[in-house]
């Protein structure tokens, strides 16, 4: 259905356009003097980092975490690999040998790679994880000289992730 756009009725000052230009100039001049007075609002990155200013919900690099008993939480169910929109995640699963203290978990990732060139920091991996094993931490400055460097392998992901206590306790001794 077609509808008519109501145009605002402009008065003479608005039609002239110049008062608005002058208003803009005034604002700029005000900021110029504020800066000259030493009240600077620009952050001098990278000398000054963002880290203290990041909100709680900030989505940085995805990482793998261990639980409070040191068990790697990931059981390599590959749901994050499936959900990942840019297909940044590649997991190679393996069976945990019977001699391992966590043998009852049966499965773990042999290799877990996240291609940080592909990653779009969407957080779907964290959302889909049934084991609370993958979290987006606050690392935002992911750089490297080669493509290979930009691939985070399992060791790197656990190094970034550290330990996170969570509510998944189905693998404890009661199980």
């Amino acid at each position: 259905m077609a509808f008519v756009v109501q145009r605002p009725k402009l008065n003479l000052a608005e039609k002239l356009y110049l008062p608005a230009v002058l208003g803009g100039l005034l604002l700029t001049i005000r900021h110029f003097f504020k800066g000259a007075a030493g009240r600077n609002v620009t952050m001098q990155y990278p000398e000054v980092k963002w880290d203290d200013h990041l909100p709680e919900w900030y989505r940085g690099a995805p990482t793998l975490v261990a639980d409070e008993w040191g068990r790697e939480r990931c059981v390599s169910c590959q749901l994050c690999e499936f959900i990942c929109p840019p297909r940044a995640i590649t997991i190679t699963p393996e069976e945990i040998p019977n001699s391992d203290p966590w043998a009852k978990v049966e499965k773990r990732p042999k290799e877990f790679e996240i291609d940080m060139i592909r990653c779009i920091y969407c957080g779907l991996c964290e959302e889909v994880c049934p084991e609370q094993a993958i979290y987006l931490r606050k690392d935002y400055s992911i750089t490297g000289y080669t493509r290979a460097e930009m691939k985070h392998d399992k060791a790197k992901l656990y190094e970034l992730g550290g330990v996170k206590a969570g509510v998944v306790n189905k693998w404890n001794e009661k199980k």
Binding site: V75, S76, C77, Q78, L79, F82, P93, E94, E95, N98, K104, V105, E106, K107, P130, E131, K170
Partner: protein, 556 residues
């Protein structure tokens, strides 16, 4: 000719019975199980223990439906309603549809408050002791328990007591791992081993919620058909060691193909992801293999990803381009008199490849042309007495199956034969000594893996494995079936038929085939038994050929 063809009904007349399914009257042959009548009517009934090829013990209770029987008058005859159909008395309690045989005038409701409440209740009971293993369970993604709990489950448990603990990761056979906590006691595996494999090693012990599936003391589930129990297990209780933790099933691409390990030609599904075959499972075809296949055949695919796969054409053991390799091979073959060249093909090749091999032999004038027979001891079920999957096809295309091998071997030994073309076989298995191969002036080999013949090849052409090519084969019963491409061949390896076509053109033979369909068309035009058939016409279930000269039997 449709893909949903079923075997022809037996000649004896089976009386048809009238059954009302969800308000509609339909006819089914006597002896049909009620659940089958429902499914045939398009009303899916959830089930775990029922399997179309096994008996119905009725122990999962998932297929509960509401049953109605004709209302009988004083004369013990059904009272008829206004539509001339019996008036139904609906039972107030549910009945299992898998172990109920249909009877005349029976009615069934597959939905409604009673049925839905029953399904929700059964689902809740089945999930009471089920572990939260889905993230590590191989069945996740193709698990009936997952599927039906989405449809009929509650989403949360009301069960406050401790779950029953049962053995996990139990090694019950060479190829199978059992997880008893995941088992829902459907007994499909037990019935399969009793009724189909006739190796009764599985059974339940203990009672109630402590019921446990186990193997008979001192025995193991090592039967060559044991992996079929993994296929029919509706949950992740039985898992295959070979496929265990390899890949989640939702990543797998399924390609319909056929088994090439023997003359039976069992129908299979090749599951692959990104160029890697992860597992092979049987595909239902009641004309050939029902729902089953032997373990030894389904596990025989890892060689496709062998590190030693031939990936580059070699001329005198040095890498070459395809153009150079083909022209060198053609020049070498043409440098001999036809009587001094022999050709060994393989009954493991498809019809199309054998047809082009025959064309190549004709173009070169080769008379000494044979395939290697592979007699073996079958098991009387799905492993036939012939280790070649396409002996029938080779015979149909007029190849000798083994009759000329000794003459070829003698010719190579005496030096009468100076050039040999070997397609997909190891010449040393055909009675030719390895030393004699080294003395040949020309040895052109087309194969996928190195063997005792390949080091002596003057030209070595890398070809495709069974999951990497399309084509057709004819099984021992005379059924022509299709292979389909699941993955691409490694490196520079090419389709066998393309290699043969290029060789034919290079030696001056006819061309005119640019696709596998055209090869088939050319073959069908020259072969009476294949008249009227096309690659697409073969369909997913194959077509039975009349090989004795009678017209081809029409399919349903």
């Amino acid at each position: 000719m449709t893909t949903t063809a079923t075997p022809a009904q037996p000649k004896t007349e089976v009386p048809l019975l009238n059954v009302q399914v969800d308000g509609e009257w339909r006819q089914f042959p006597k002896g049909t199980r009620l659940i089958e009548a429902c499914i045939k009517s398009g009303q899916y009934v959830p089930h775990y223990c029922y399997h179309p090829k096994l008996s119905s013990p009725g122990n999962c209770r998932m297929c509960l439906v509401q049953l109605g029987m004709p209302k009988l008058g004083a004369d013990r005859k059904p009272e008829l309603g206004e539509d001339g159909r019996p008036i139904l008395n609906w039972s107030p309690r549910p009945a299992i549809s898998c172990a109920t045989e249909i009877s005349e005038g029976m009615g069934v409701r597959t939905s409604g408050p009673l049925v839905e409440e029953c399904r929700n209740g059964v689902m809740e009971f089945l999930l009471i002791n089920h572990p939260l293993d889905c993230p590590i369970c191989d069945q996740a993604g193709e698990c009936r328990l997952q599927e039906f709990s989405v449809e009929y489950g509650k989403g949360e448990s009301r069960f406050l007591e401790e779950k029953v603990k049962k053995p996990k990761r139990v090694d019950i056979g060479e190829r199978i791992v059992l997880d008893d906590e995941r088992c829902i006691m459907c007994s499909r595996c037990i019935r399969f081993m009793q009724e189909v494999a006739h190796d009764d090693v599985l059974g339940f012990v203990n009672r109630g919620s402590h019921t446990t599936l186990t193997v008979y003391p001192g025995k193991r589930l090592d039967n060559n058909y044991s992996l079929n129990t993994v296929d029919i297990c509706p949950v992740g209780a039985l898992t295959s060691k070979d496929f265990r933790f390899r890949m989640r099933v939702w990543f797998l691409k399924e390609t319909k193909s056929i088994d090439v390990n023997c003359g039976t030609g069992s129908n299979i599904l090749i599951s692959s992801r990104e160029g890697i075959v992860h597992r092979i499972t049987p595909r239902e075809n009641d004309f050939v293999n029902s729902c089953w296949m032997p373990d030894s055949h389904r596990l025989n695919f890892h060689y496709l990803h062998d590190e030693d796969r031939l990936k580059t054409p070699l001329v005198k053991s040095a890498p070459a381009t395809w153009t150079d390799a083909i022209s060198t091979a053609a020049a070498q073959l043409k440098s001999h008199e036809p009587a001094r060249i022999a050709m060994i093909a393989s009954a493991r090749m498809t019809n199309e490849e054998l047809f082009l091999a025959r064309r190549l032999a004709t173009a070169l004038g080769i008379e000494q042309f044979d395939v290697l027979p592979r007699p073996q001891e079958g098991d009387g079920f799905l492993i036939s007495n012939d280790g070649n999957p396409n002996t029938t096809g080779a015979k149909l295309l007029g190849l000798h199956c083994g009759g000329r091998l000794s003459a070829i071997a003698a010719g190579v030994a005496s030096g009468a034969i100076r050039g040999l073309l070997v397609l997909g076989e190891d010449a040393t298995q055909c009675g030719i000594a390895e030393g004699d191969l080294a003395n040949l002036e020309t040895l052109v080999v087309v194969d996928i893996l190195p063997n005792k013949t390949t080091p002596h090849a003057t030209v070595l052409l890398p070809a495709s494995g069974f999951a990497e090519k399309r084509g057709s084969m004819i099984n021992l019963a005379g059924r022509i079936q299709r292979l389909n491409r699941a993955i691409s061949a490694p490196g520079l390896a090419r389709d066998d038929w393309e290699i043969l076509r290029d060789l034919i053109v290079a030696v001056g033979g006819p061309n005119g085939v640019y696709s596998i369909e055209e090869v088939f068309r050319a073959m069908a035009a020259e072969t009476p038994a294949l008249t009227g058939l096309s690659m697409a016409g073969i369909g997913d279930l194959g077509v039975e050929l009349a090989l004795d000269g009678a017209p081809r039997r029409a399919e349903i």
